[in-house]
Structure formats: structure tokens, C-alpha cells
């Protein structure tokens, strides 16, 4: 039984997405799954991150195709709006399912 359980845990760990292993990136994706779009400044406020760190995490998610960005001007100031892509939503759901499954297996 313990061997079977260990196998199940190993399988589930494989389903975890390394990209979402970082807490900020997971937070960004969950927030974008809940809301249609969030601006850079709103994400910064919610996550309590520095500009540099948030920008780096957003870029990683964008490169992997998890999020997309639209830039617009508001009162002559640039505003970046982020949205979760279909691919990002699927990846997030799979990751959250794996997390829940792991908790159930370990408890």
C-alpha cells in the first residue's frame, strides 16, 4: 500500500506545473482566472510586489503563453492590461487539481 501511495504521489507531482510553483506566478494566474483583466498597477497592489519582480514574473508567464498583454493609453499614460489565455486557464486548472489531489493523498 505505501508503495502504491508513493507512486500516486509521484504521478501527481508530475502534474504540477513548474511555472506555477512560484507563489507570485500562481497568484497572478488565479487572479486573472477570477477577473476578466487586471492592469499592471492593480496586480502590483494586490500582490504587493515591486515593479521589477512583478514585471519579471509576468514576462515568464507571457513567454509560456499563459497570459497575454494589451497596452493602451489612459490620460496619456501607458496602461498594460493582462488576461489569462485559454492555455493558461487549462494549465492553472491542472495545477490546482494536482495540488488538491496531493493534499488529499497526504492527509
Amino acid at each position: 500500500m505505501p508503495a502504491e501511495r508513493s507512486e500516486q504521489i509521484a504521478d501527481t507531482l508530475n502534474n504540477l506545473n513548474k511555472l506555477l510553483g512560484h507563489r507570485s506566478r500562481l497568484g497572478i494566474c488565479v487572479l486573472l482566472a477570477r477577473h476578466t483583466a487586471l492592469s499592471f498597477s492593480r496586480l502590483k497592489e494586490l500582490l504587493d510586489e515591486t515593479d521589477g519582480n512583478l514585471g519579471a514574473q509576468l514576462r515568464k508567464l507571457e513567454i509560456e503563453g499563459f497570459i497575454e498583454v494589451n497596452k493602451e493609453f489612459r490620460n496619456r499614460k501607458p496602461v498594460s492590461w493582462y488576461r489569462l489565455t485559454k492555455n493558461g486557464r487549462l494549465g492553472l486548472m491542472k495545477h490546482l487539481d494536482a495540488m488538491t489531489h496531493l493534499i488529499n493523498l497526504k492527509s
Binding site: 504540477l16 510553483g21 507563489r23 500562481l26 476578466t36 487586471l38 500582490l47 495540488m99
Partner: protein
Amino acid sequence: MTSEKIEEDLGYVKSLVDKSERIMNPPSVFILWAAIIAVGFSLVDFAPKYVGFFWMIASPLGGLLSGFLGRKTGRARGQLDAGTGKKHAIYWSGLLTITILAVLLGIRGFIHGAVISQVILLVVAMGWWGAGVLFDRYFLYLAGIMMAGFTAALFLDRYVWTAMGMLLAITLTAVAVHKGKKNASGAQ
């Protein structure tokens, strides 16, 4: 990855979502309805023949303006919620439709005079109570004032509607000020 770390991460994302959902209806919407209600309710006492005409214009226009103000506030805050906007649109347009159906009772002659206003008030009070449960708890207080006003109108016949309208307008303004302060201090 330990289960403690996973639970911590899940707790963290839950707190983020809770924080992001603390945005409620913008204060400007409450000010708008304070003005509409103050005028609309007073008309029942002072110019009853214009009540139907006023609400026929003010209700849908107020609804559209509220939607516009909500979207504008969302854009300014950097948070767009198409799902929430749709939920509000379905809820409030449903309430408007039910109110119009209640008005038809008067047009067809099944109910007369002050009873029409009373029936509409009950429908709206029920709608606002529902909004208090679903969207914003402040609607519960406003629905409570309407219920109290309904009861008062059963026993008194002078200026009850004006008093109720003023009380609702003052409460709506107080809610708007309270929300404005919360936004300014970032306590939301």
C-alpha cells in the same frame, strides 16, 4: 513539495482573491440613485400624475448610467470583471421587468391609486433585499427602510413618500461617503 507548502500556497491565493473582490459598487452609483429616489418618491406626494412618467425614464436611464459608472470605476482601478457586470445587468434588468409587470396590474385596472405605488414599493424592496444578499450588504438597510416606509404608508397618508425618499437618499449618500473614505484610505 510538502502538503504544508501546498496548503500555504492555496491559502495565499485565496487571500489574494478575497482582497481583489473587496471592490464594491462605486460611490457615484449611490449618489446617482440618491438623487433619483429623492425626486421620484417626493413626486408621489407633490405631483402624483408625473410619477409613472418619471420612473419610466429614470429607471432604465439610471440603470444604464450605473453600468457606465461601474465600468468606468473598474477601468480606473485596473480591474475588469465582465462576469460581475453581466450578473448585475441580468439582476437589475429582471427587477425592472418585474416592476413593469406590476405596473400592468394598474394599467389593466386590477389595482388602483395608492395601491399601485405600494405594490411597486414591495417589489423594489424585495429586489433590493436580494441585492443586499448577493452584491452589497448596504442594500439590506435600504430595503429595510422601504419595508418600514411601506408599513408607515398603510397608516399615514401625508408626506410618507417624501419622508421615505429623503431617508433613503440620506442613507444612500452616507453609504457613498463611507465607501469613498474606504477607497481613499485603501482599507478595502
